[in-house]
């Protein structure tokens, strides 16, 4: 079927373990995975930034980048080149070590988050049995990088941005976690492959009744906030804090923050797609055998990336439509609306799961 990623990874794995001794084979696998991840990172950076610019342009009755390469497709390559050439300044009053460390922490967190994501059928780096928990816990580490950047810059704008970001991510973890929990309750497993497997006969958003739909909406809002995207881009808030925590960063160090933001969007959307939209599972409708059969012919990787990019588009759509919230309203939204709703919602989902009312 299409791109048989399962077979490819399995055969490489077997070949490595048959040819070399296990430790060397493991090392080679590490290197292969690292190369894959770095390639994916740079590709995602290029594609997502281009996508954002085109989406924003079309929503703003503009054309968007169209100068570099055919239809402006190499614009981000040119931009990256510029950022690499630029001087990576460290301000005089900054805490040099932390200042230079912060972008890498944000970046490493984004890389580590790639581990449990299932990109296609059988194509996963690490099928850990606490996959979703791993995602939820590691993703909150990135706030340390942001706080570090804000503090080490020795700049008041940066500090304010970092503090905002800290308050924001800590609060929105809660409702993102509860939204994830809604699906976990129905699935009964934290392992990503199990969650996807449980959607064999229909995605959770379809068979989970209203609670899952509400959880999906809350998840979208919460992850938008967690990735510091507008309308929750308190940490940057360019009309208030010039650029927030990365005011003092330039050149490649700034690019790392920028890249990490986009990769984080990809990751949270991938997790959203996995939980609610069935990951790589094709769209199956009840007993329409013919339709289901046709859907099965579309490769699993395309299903996964299609769903993920759809969610990314929705998040971009938010950004280019809504004004920014104020910091206290942002926290109000979380503690007064999202959290109570998701708690009641979780209760409902639990009832549904226990009574077995879901399809």
């Amino acid at each position: 079927m299409g791109f048989g990623f399962e077979n490819i990874t399995a055969s490489i794995h077997n070949w490595l373990y048959n040819t070399f001794n296990p430790s060397i084979a493991l090392l080679i696998e590490f290197i292969l995975v690292a190369i894959c991840i770095i390639t994916l990172f740079s590709l995602l950076g290029l594609v997502l930034i281009m996508m954002e610019r085109k989406v924003s342009a079309w929503m703003q009755v503009r054309l968007g980048p169209n100068r570099v390469g055919p239809k402006g497709m190499f614009q981000t390559v040119a931009d990256t080149l510029k950022l690499i050439i630029k001087e990576g300044m460290t301000p005089d009053g900054a805490d040099k070590f932390l200042f230079n460390l912060a972008p890498f922490i944000v970046m490493i967190v984004a890389m580590v988050l790639m581990a449990p994501i299932m990109f296609a059928k059988g194509f996963q780096i690490w099928d850990i049995n606490i996959g979703i928990l791993f995602f939820a816990s590691v993703s909150s580490v990135s706030v340390i990088g942001i706080l570090m950047a804000g503090w080490a810059s020795n700049n008041k704008y940066s500090l304010l941005g970092a503090m905002r970001s800290g308050a924001q991510i800590v609060s929105y973890e809660l409702s993102a976690g509860l939204a994830i929990l809604t699906v976990i309750v129905l699935t009964g497993s934290l392992r990503i492959s199990d969650i996807i497997e449980s959607q064999q006969n229909g995605w959770w958003i379809f068979k989970g009744h209203i609670p899952v739909i509400i959880a999906f909406i809350i998840f979208l809002i919460a992850v938008t906030a967690e990735t510091n995207r507008a309308p929750f881009d308190m940490a940057e808030a360019e009309s208030e804090l010039t650029a927030g925590f990365h005011t003092e960063y330039s050149g490649m160090k700034f690019a790392l923050f920028f890249l990490a933001e986009y990769v984080n969007i990809f990751i949270v959307c991938a997790v959203g797609a996995t939980l609610f939209l069935g990951g790589w599972m094709p769209l199956h409708i009840g007993n329409w055998q013919g339709f289901n059969h046709v859907m099965d012919y579309i490769p699993s990787s395309i299903w996964f990336f299609g769903k993920t990019f759809f969610l990314i588009f929705v998040i971009m759509w938010f950004r280019w439509t809504f004004p920014r919230l104020r910091i206290d309203q942002l926290l109000n939204l979380e503690w007064k609306y999202l959290l109570p709703i998701s708690m009641v919602n979780l209760l409902l989902a639990t009832v549904i799961a226990i009574a077995g009312w879901h399809f």
């Binding site: 989406v55 079309w58 929503m59 703003q60 009755v61 503009r62 054309l63 169209n66 759509w317 938010f318 280019w320 439509t321 809504f322 609306y337 709703i341």
Partner: protein, 159 residues
């Protein structure tokens, strides 16, 4: 109970207002004919500026290389920024009389604010505004221009 109803209607009306905005941006996202961008250097050939557009002051010369400037300095006086400097000379007319005439019409584009007062002031309509707008040069001295063509002289019959 009233409190909960208010809470729920609040949430719904909020979501509705947000969806309304998203509908509009979604409309623009899918309707590319609404795009208003003009691709400037590419459309240079088809770019038409209105005839009243004020780009820079030029002097009108006809095919015989004759202009209508008498050197009366009305424009120089009308200019708020001392953009124009008129240098006059004395021509000898065929009758042997001395007559004041224009020697050099110096125009400082770098000082000009395109206010059109000089054109209004000119009694003989010798100067006009040109529809040019790409004025950038590498050397500032190129912005100081001599408006009357070399060898040009005043048209017959203009006093």
């Amino acid at each position: 109970m009233g409190f909960i109803r208010k809470y729920i209607t609040d949430v719904f009306s909020a979501v509705k207002s947000l969806l309304k905005g998203m509908k509009l941006t979604g409309y623009y996202f899918t309707h590319h004919k609404e795009i208003i961008t003009q691709q400037y250097p590419d459309n240079k050939d088809t770019l038409v500026l209105p005839e009243r557009f004020r780009g820079e002051v030029v002097m009108i010369h006809d095919e015989n290389n004759e202009h209508a400037c008498t050197g009366c300095t009305a424009c120089e006086l009308a200019c708020p920024n001392a953009t124009i400097k008129i240098i006059t000379k004395f021509d000898i007319t065929p009758e042997g009389k001395k007559k004041k005439a224009l020697d050099t019409f110096v125009y400082h584009l770098e000082l000009c604010t395109m206010c059109n007062l000089c054109i209004e002031a000119c009694p003989t309509s010798a100067i006009k505004m040109a529809q040019t707008f790409e004025h950038s040069v590498f050397d500032r001295s190129q912005l100081t221009k001599k408006l009357n063509n070399p060898g040009s002289k005043i048209r017959e019959g203009i006093e």
